[in-house]
Symmetry: C2
Subunit: 352 residues, 2 copies
């Protein structure tokens, strides 16, 4: 897993690209004109680990609201702009830390140039955010979708570079996972800018998390990608949760506990699903990275439990509690979770 | 995505490897000695798309039960054997279609040979199923984990090949995703046998589906893998659901509807999450592959909805219903789902 070299940019205080950790982003669901609701949601997002937040700016009232929101939150804010370059100018006036423009609908070269000049003056990065669903039908209509996505981004990048603007980030999102992967792979060798990964409109969490994990996971495993946003039809904190699970699975970030639990089978002598669910629920507020194993029988149980920071391996009506490979306690089934959680709490430093 | 060449084997009537589609497996949670409960769960699994089912065989009563179970179900059955080679012999007597042996705990070379000879006589394939958590500590203790997993499998394969047994399938499961990927990549070039993929003890569905999607998805994208089993602490039908979502995301299998829905943002003028959830719920029993888009606004909405078999793009209080790129109806917000579902039902052939 050698990471693609990219130039680093800064969104507010957060570095994206270069050697920086992969940054987790999300997007508010609130009406941006409702400053109080939006500020509350941004604070929730910060609390669950989101590092940069994007806000829809559908009209000039929303663009104006950004100034008030910006004053009350510490997370860097990106304004999401479609259709009207004047909203981008107004968002810059409001002091946003980044812009996302959709080259498919933002306007002509002159209008883009006005935004780029204003962003350059304020040293605010711009994401060239191409979506498969909104490429104008008359843009290279004969080319395959992936090439159209890449070429649309490259065209926009050239406009920016011609204005000596290089605070650029690029995304090429589609719903189709293989198309998205190909598009990012193709542009990875053609530009030095950091890449923002996502599978767009991935759907509800049960399926969208899977689609996102595959698309984003394959790219990250190939070393492509500097920041990720998981798009789910759900509360934005669920997007952040899924993003960290993707990064944790690949060893790219650490955050909160990781639960190893067996699927249960005809061999289990305890209700392992109920045990795992209860342990997961009790660990919800923990941010310290701890690997916790909940194993239902003697086949893989002791092996996996030994490998975890803390683990239980259950037998008939009783279980053993392991800490870093040593049995530290045994307990009857009804006391197992309490005994396990006591050990977990010893590993919880209270922070990430 | 060029698929690794592998020799094909048959588990009951299901072909694994070669040019066959990637096969979806799961495992019962019932006590195998409870024939009636186990048969019921196998029927549920068949209904949700499972193609091969594995059963734990912890003792000789369980091994005996397999004969009665086998008579009452049509899915091919694999006996999961640990610790005692005699259970494998008894399972073969009971007429199972496949065996899974864990070389880490099944016994010595003589005992393995007895099982292999009996399986050969009945033409029953055996999976060499290595688990990171149950490799004996004295097996190549100095080698890195991934090499130990691969070498343990290769050693077992050589024992089987020496007995001229080639109905072999191999798995190398670990909880750690990068280790699992490396192990499968390493063995892919060293044996011609089909590979059974999985991330072991992946945990509860919310996190386990993500870990599994990344590990299995990366390997399948590299062309490695012939059958998959998602291991979750959940009802086994959830494993099958996740397995198909992984395969659908990569375009490797088709089954049931695929919901494209936007994440909602400050731009949405309808409650897109509630809409998407309701549509998903109403599509639960559909097995026909249909791509359905539920989009909240005009940014990506019409583009994505046009690309779907059926889709809605919502505006303020109203929405347009698309079918294969054509607007076929418009409806008020409260009638949107009914209008959409009417179109969906026209595409539902009643089968996969």
């Amino acid at each position: 897993m050698t990471r693609r070299a990219s130039v680093a940019i800064r969104i507010g205080g957060v570095c994206i690209g270069g050697d920086s950790p992969i940054v987790v982003q999300s997007m508010t669901r609130t009406d941006t004109r409702d400053v109080s609701a939006t500020v509350d949601q941004i604070k929730q997002l910060k609390d669950c680990g989101c590092e940069i937040v994007r806000l829809a700016v559908p009209d000039s009232d929303a663009a104006q609201s950004l100034a008030g929101i910006k004053k009350r939150v510490s997370l860097p804010i990106i304004a999401d702009i479609h259709f009207d370059y004047r909203l981008a100018l107004a968002a810059l006036e409001s002091g946003v830390d980044g812009l996302r423009l959709n080259p498919g609908n933002i306007g002509d070269r002159e209008q883009v140039a006005m935004v780029v000049k204003a962003a350059k003056h304020r040293e605010v990065p711009i994401r060239v955010g191409v979506n498969a669903g909104s490429i104008p039908p008359d843009f290279q209509p004969e080319a395959p979708l992936v090439e159209r996505m890449v070429n649309m981004a490259l065209e926009q990048i050239r406009i920016m570079e011609a204005l000596e603007f290089r605070l650029i980030k690029v995304s090429l999102k589609a719903f189709d996972v293989p198309s998205t992967i190909q598009a990012y792979q193709m542009i990875a060798g053609k530009t030095p800018y950091p890449l923002h990964l996502g599978i767009t409109e991935a759907g509800l969490p049960r399926t969208g998390a899977i689609r996102s994990a595959i698309g984003i996971g394959i790219l990250l495993y190939q070393g492509v990608g500097d920041t990720i946003r998981v798009s789910l039809s759900a509360h934005p904190c669920e997007e952040v949760f899924v993003a960290y699970e993707i990064l944790k699975s690949l060893g790219l970030r650490q955050r909160g506990p990781t639960l190893v639990s067996c699927p249960s089978c005809g061999r289990a002598e305890v209700d392992i699903i109920a045990l795992a669910e209860e342990v997961s629920r009790r660990m919800e507020r923990i941010r310290t990275p701890i690997k916790v194993a909940v194993m239902g029988c003697v086949v893989n149980g002791p092996g996996e439990a030994r490998d975890a920071d803390v683990g239980i391996a259950c037998g008939k009506g009783r279980g053993a509690i392991f800490r870093k490979g040593e049995v530290v306690a045994t307990a009857d089934e009804q006391d197992l979770i309490d005994a396990l959680m006591k050990e977990v709490s010893l590993s919880d430093t209270g922070g990430p």
